[in-house]
Amino acid sequence: MRHRMSQISAFWNARSRVQQWGLLVPVVVFLLWLPVLNPPLITTEPATDFPIALFNAAVLALIAIGLNVVIGQAGLLDLGYVGFFAIGAYTTALLSSPDSLLGVRYPWLVIVPIAMLVTMISGVILGTPTLRLRGDYLAIVTLGFGEIVRLLADNIDPLRGNRGFQNIARPEATYPDGSPVFSQTDVLGFYWLAVCLIVIVLMLMGNLERSRVGRAWIAVREDEDVAELTGVPTYRFKIWAFAIGAAVGGLSGALFAAQVGYVNNQRFDVATSILYLAAVVLGGSGNKVGVIVGAFLVSYIPDRFQFEPQYRFLVFGLALMVLMAFRPQGLLGMRQHLLTYGRQAYRRLFGAGAAVAPTGMTASTRAAGDLPEVKPDDHAGTSPRGGGE
């Protein structure tokens, strides 16, 4: 499988951007059409509605893309990401549910930017005191943050705890026959919306990745001290990573709240955060396509194979362990393209005819997913504190 993956990856990296888009468009169209096709072996019915299963997978994919910014790119271990998802969902609920004390009902499209802004701000609020902490402290603090968000939803009366908010706004649109495009049970519209959002977010994230922002994140992940000593304002970019990751989390929360139409404090617990983490790690932390695949597997497999829901989490835990033992970099290895004009630069370097060679060559080493050689001190985990001593 490793070989196959690397072949695919090499093939992909050898394509020009136009060719890549040419290949991607049919894939996206196929994905959009998938719930309509409802193919016999792939469908999750009769256990659960197939379009809803796909929609849930898409929401998880969106979450994974956002979490990937934090974990995969900036290397910040966030165990409380569900908190941002919850804030997005609750913002949507508060601004549109009749149960809300605010007493307003904004349209969903108006709420989405607000929800993203609110989660971004909460990301900054969480990040400001905590992002000066080293990795493992950050992990436990973010875990605490996720719990705090859940507990606040529980404890603060206007957030209605377990009672929740009903009748949350959905995007408003109707098919020619007058039936709503976006409804709770007929989620084709929601699914298409989710896929479109994923594509848009992917493009934007790709733009970020191929800029000083993405490079700063990777630099922080690789060696924070050196990043700073190379002129990267690490603290600021870590907060940006949190804020941007949070915004995507908020977006997915708003999407989720709209489809279900109901939000309460269930499902925003640590276990859910860890599920998100698993999606990212399973597919390949740092690889945007990888985390989408990971999210799809984490969401779809339990829906598809409901034979023994008893053993779902056992299988899940085993899968994580086995995967880490044999393929710690995830199904698809980590690889970012960090230069907007990198392709041109490499091609010019090796001449047009040799365009395939360098990418192919490097891709084979990278796409095999081999992480860079681990330095001994890295393994022990002690990141050297000082500069060069």
């Binding site: 999750t44 009769p46 256990a47 509605d49 529980d154 377990n162 009672r163 049970t185 279900v260 499902r267």
Partner: protein, 400 residues
């Protein structure tokens, strides 16, 4: 020094409360006149049973659905319900060779987000004519609008939040009394029969616990003099015990489930708080008695469920089929499944027909008479008080 003297005085008051409550308890027992078993109703002679008259005819593949948790959180409750529904369907199919009904199970996981997909699958399955479920109020809220839009009749055997029938859904029926029935009954019981004028209401963080606590607090009025909150899965209650010790109530009402109630009562008793402890149906479970490790004796447990020990046929059949005695809400589930099966036997083959059947239904079940108001509440909802005695939950009296 002053504090110590106060504490001593507090102990006296607590002791007095204990004596008082003890008396009240005894009084209740005497009023019922006789052993606890005598209070439990036996199977009504006119109860409608799943078997019907054996003449049922329906199209092959005709199904009813169960939507609720099977493997998720709090699965035990869901399993007690789905088992009883299965029992009803099996008994029906055995007695009616020309009408073989399938029970389609949809595992909602018990949470709102996971409930939508499986429930939608039921909605999209044209052979499903009616649904038993959903067990919890939260998930019921989440999928209620969709079920209503589909015109799919939906009888819950256990969701007791009063708000569920206030949504204007025409397909939603409740197979038991809601918290607005149980709560005031408990409140009155505490005030009138226990004579408590100073009550601590402790609630958990569930929809159920909060809603019921609100009802009880309202009924108690100023007597509800202290309030405390616990969290699901909390196991250590020293702070709450401190609060109770400070308030020195004459009764404690715990609004929540047995998982937290058991350690709470045990730690209360360990701390020397002997105040009468009252719990709702969520606490009424054998596990409560076992887990309280001898501290549960004297606990009063209310339930909008009718004592099951009298329904020997049902209890035996359940025990035989699943190896365990029926649990809370099993009988309710059995009853509402029977009502759906009745409609199918009468030749109803579409959802609208079955919905109509339930809406106009008037018949005796094991647990009570079933006849619904237009918004889906039962007209007649008995509430019973049980009590823990000698490490057994025994029937005390009907309180509403």
């Amino acid at each position: 020094m002053i504090r110590r003297r106060l504490a001593a005085a507090g102990a006296l008051v607590a002791a007095a409360a204990l004596v008082l409550s003890g008396c009240a308890n005894q009084g209740g027992g005497e009023q019922q006149g006789g052993g606890p078993q005598a209070a439990a109703p036996s199977q009504p002679t006119d109860a409608v049973l799943p078997a019907g008259n054996g003449q049922g005819r329906c199209a092959p593949g005709t199904s009813i659905g169960y939507a609720g948790t099977i493997a998720g959180q709090n699965a035990a409750l869901g399993i007690a319900i789905v088992n009883a529904a299965q029992l009803a369907v099996d008994q029906h199919n055995q007695a009616n060779p020309n009408c073989q009904v399938t029970l389609v199970r949809a595992d909602t996981g018990g949470t709102p987000d996971t409930a939508v997909g499986p429930t939608t699958a039921l909605i999209n399955n044209p052979q499903v004519l009616g649904i038993v479920g959903l067990p919890f109020s939260g998930e019921s809220r989440a999928v209620g609008p969709a079920l209503n839009a589909a015109g799919l009749v939906n009888i819950t055997p256990s969701a007791t939040n009063p708000g569920l029938t206030q949504n204007g859904w025409t397909n939603f029926f409740r197979g038991l009394g809601n918290d607005a029935v149980q709560g005031p009954a408990i409140g009155r019981y505490i005030q009138e029969r226990l004579g408590a004028q100073n009550v601590c209401v402790i609630k958990d963080d569930s929809d159920y616990g909060i809603g019921l606590a609100g009802q009880v607090t309202q009924t108690l009025g100023p007597a509800a003099s202290c309030q405390a909150d616990v969290k699901t899965n909390q196991r250590e209650f020293s702070a709450i015990i401190g609060q109770v010790q400070q308030a020195q109530p004459q009764a404690i009402f715990y609004s929540g489930y047995y998982q937290e109630a058991a350690p709470l009562i045990q730690q209360l008793r360990d701390a020397g708080v002997q105040t009468t402890f009252v719990g709702p149906d969520g606490v009424k479970d054998e596990q409560y008695v076992v887990n309280a490790a001898g501290s549960a004796d004297g606990t009063l447990l209310s339930c909008p469920c009718v004592p099951q020990e009298g329904f020997t046929d049902f209890t035996n059949a359940y025990q035989q089929a699943f190896g365990v005695p029926p649990q809370t809400y099993s009988a309710e589930s059995y009853d509402v499944t029977t009502i759906l099966l009745q409609g199918i036997d009468q030749g109803i083959a579409d959802r609208a027909g079955l919905l109509n059947h339930v809406r106009n239904y008037n018949g005796q079940g094991l647990t009570k008479r079933f006849q619904w108001s237009p918004n889906g509440e039962l007209a007649n909802t008995p509430v019973w008080m049980y009590r823990v005695q000698g490490n057994q939950i025994v029937t005390d009296s009907q309180i509403g």
